[in-house]
Homo-oligomer: 400 residues x 2
């Protein structure tokens, strides 16, 4: 196909009804009221944002967090300039901690929620510091790049058993039928693997504490979260902007090691200080609260799970139906958050890339470890955006 | 003085020309242009914000960061939803790192600037991890709560010598005439002590690496920054919102210890990854860049230093002149960032508190360790705000 034909196709694609609209914000009201009011409800998508993270958040959250920067809580001060000890922010932190537990169904079950600095990568270190005993050992499941990052840090603390790994198959599936040693101090797994598009659909039963990195699928599906003893998640997928990490910890698993734990890495110290051991990342915590409030209003995890399933089903059905495409993850382990796929014929790359970009889609390029494409369908991505992608895939088939 | 008299005074105070104005933001332009334009220059103070940190930032920075949340860089995407690997954010990180070095006069001198997670409290741990040799030792100057927090963490790594301390005098001065052992791995000090209102006016000469926590006075005064080997600063005073820490490190001091350093705590790994070892706190980095750009436009550190001196001179002159007040820090060590003072007669507390609150001042209450008042006069606090406080102090004297 020559270049002029590609251009024709792209122009044709552009003639379709516009999926992209400019946002219509009106912050003028603040001038009169002293605080900003939301005077409209006609939010529309700016782009179909498939970014793997940081990623799309609800449009309403963007507007509210921008408002808080101009004037927080009617205080005539920016959210960024108030003390974190101000009661207005203390109540943000308290509500965020309580709401995280509520949404996971963990209130009153001995868990604490913490909003910490450092990203999930710092948790790779905090987990063994807090849970691996001196001369102890831990069991890790190796399902991808981040799991293997966690393993790397744990190795410096004690015996770190990799009890199963899908690395030889470039992490295209979740290992099964492994045994968790009952004398390990904890079992660590990664529930969703953004890069490889795989997701754990079930979790093993074990008598030792279960630690799970849920960075890329927390709050996206119903699970019995009380089967986990420690859950951590960098905010920048389903919870908020980059710069804060949610840690959910069952308090009874702490204090079992005699190892020295530096203050900033000690979960118990953060619990004792109500997640304010040092100045928290105020903006990221507040924006996470806004996102959790949005989720609650949507109907919580059970409601968003249905939408996430609909989005994933729609896209995977097209990947499987369309002869031009192929999924890269083993079907039974496919992630509802990140769908990874490739073109069967690489010579279609240029035209496909131009088509999806012309449709207002962004962030679809796959990670270099897998190549091809990755459609990240986090909570805030509307079904409409998935339909747009599916339409583009059909268009490509029709025109080739 | 009875309550009705207090009310009269406060009403009289309120009759004064209004110091507080509503902000006049007009973000309407974005609806037409697809990105927000700053259509006005009449920023006025909302409050006279003396918060000790997080604290006031330039009003222009608040508006620009709010705009970026709605639509970043004309991309039709929020700053919060783009990948940190997107070239638009990579260039933010690069500019912020370069501008920090430029403002400090450290370009081309072997230094690296990093924007890290964790706050200065994580640096208390990273410094000994990276610099204290196995069986080595370090020398610390104890000038307040934060210095003592740094000492506490270092003690777990090796011999931690507290070579001088002003603790017995409740940290009301900076110790002098101490000796730094030439065989220590490094010397650590805290340039400004927010809680106690003291500031190091000079720094010792030594042949060992000098590490300085400049969280509360970085970018506020001219110093020969090349005399320091490692400078760190939580952003939330003169640089940006809470949630990011600037680290300036002379690369040649790294790699001298055989100690194992966890990846997230290893300065060299952060340098090798160009300050993107893991997902950075995108919003806090961008807002820090806006603040650094504002400082450069103001004329850099030399220009802001003059304004900071004028503010401090104005306030300290009133503290010393007004018979109702007394400064708590030794005069020669007074901080230009945080002025701590008390009422000589505590029975004036209620009326003074009502007067400054009525004048639109916020955040003046002193830290519980010192009591009384603390006026934090960071870079973004205008001289006008200090004049308002001085006027209130004079009013109190006139009416008592």
């Amino acid at each position: 196909m020559d270049t002029s034909k590609i251009s024709q196709l792209i122009n044709k694609q552009k003639e379709k009804p516009e999926h992209i609209h400019q946002p219509h914000f009106n912050l003028e009201a603040q001038v009169n009221s002293g605080r900003i009011k939301n005077t409209h409800n006609n939010y529309t998508m700016k782009k179909h944002n498939y970014s793997a993270g940081p990623c799309i958040l609800p449009q309403d959250v963007f507007e509210k967090s921008a408002q808080a920067i101009l004037n927080f809580n009617g205080m005539d001060l920016s959210l960024l300039e108030i003390s974190h000890r101000d009661k207005a922010f203390v109540s943000v932190m308290e509500e965020a901690r309580a709401l995280a537990l509520e949404l996971l169904g963990l209130e009153g079950k001995g868990y604490q929620a913490l909003f910490l600095h450092g990203g999930a990568s710092l948790e790779f270190l905090m987990v063994p510091y807090n849970l691996m005993k001196e001369n102890g050992k831990a069991a890790y499941l190796d399902t991808g790049t981040w799991a293997s990052g966690a393993i790397k840090e744990a190795k410096h603390f004690g015996e770190t058993l990799v009890i199963a790994s899908s690395k030889p198959e470039n992490y295209n599936h979740i290992p099964k039928n492994y045994t968790i040693p009952s004398d390990a101090n904890y079992f660590h797994c990664t529930s969703n693997n953004t890069i490889f598009g795989t997701q754990m659909k079930s979790f093993p039963e074990t008598n030792i504490p279960v630690v799970c990195d849920m960075s890329s699928d927390i709050f996206s599906r119903s699970l019995d979260f009380s089967k986990f003893d420690l859950i951590y998640a960098g905010a920048q997928k389903n919870m908020g902007p980059a710069g804060v990490t949610l840690v959910i910890v069952k308090e009874e698993i702490l204090g079992k090691t005699s190892r020295y734990i530096p203050s900033m890495l000690d979960y118990q110290q953060h619990i004792d200080k109500e997640s304010m051991y040092n100045t928290p990342p105020v903006f990221a915590v507040y924006t996470s609260l806004l996102t959790l409030q949005w989720l609650k209003k949507m109907g919580g995890i059970a409601a968003i799970e249905k939408i996430n399933e609909a989005k994933a089903n729609l896209l995977y059905a097209e990947i499987d139906r369309n002869p031009l495409f192929k999924g890269t993850a083993v079907k039974e382990d496919r992630s509802n958050m990140n769908a990874t796929f490739v073109l069967n014929d690489k010579s279609h790359t240029e035209i496909f890339d131009q088509l999806w970009k012309a449709a207002g889609i962004s962030g679809l390029t796959g990670h270099r470890s897998v190549g091809g494409y990755r459609a990240s369908m986090y909570n805030a991505l509307p079904l409409e955006s998935v339909q747009v992608l599916v339409d583009v895939m059909k268009d490509l088939e029709n025109k080739i």
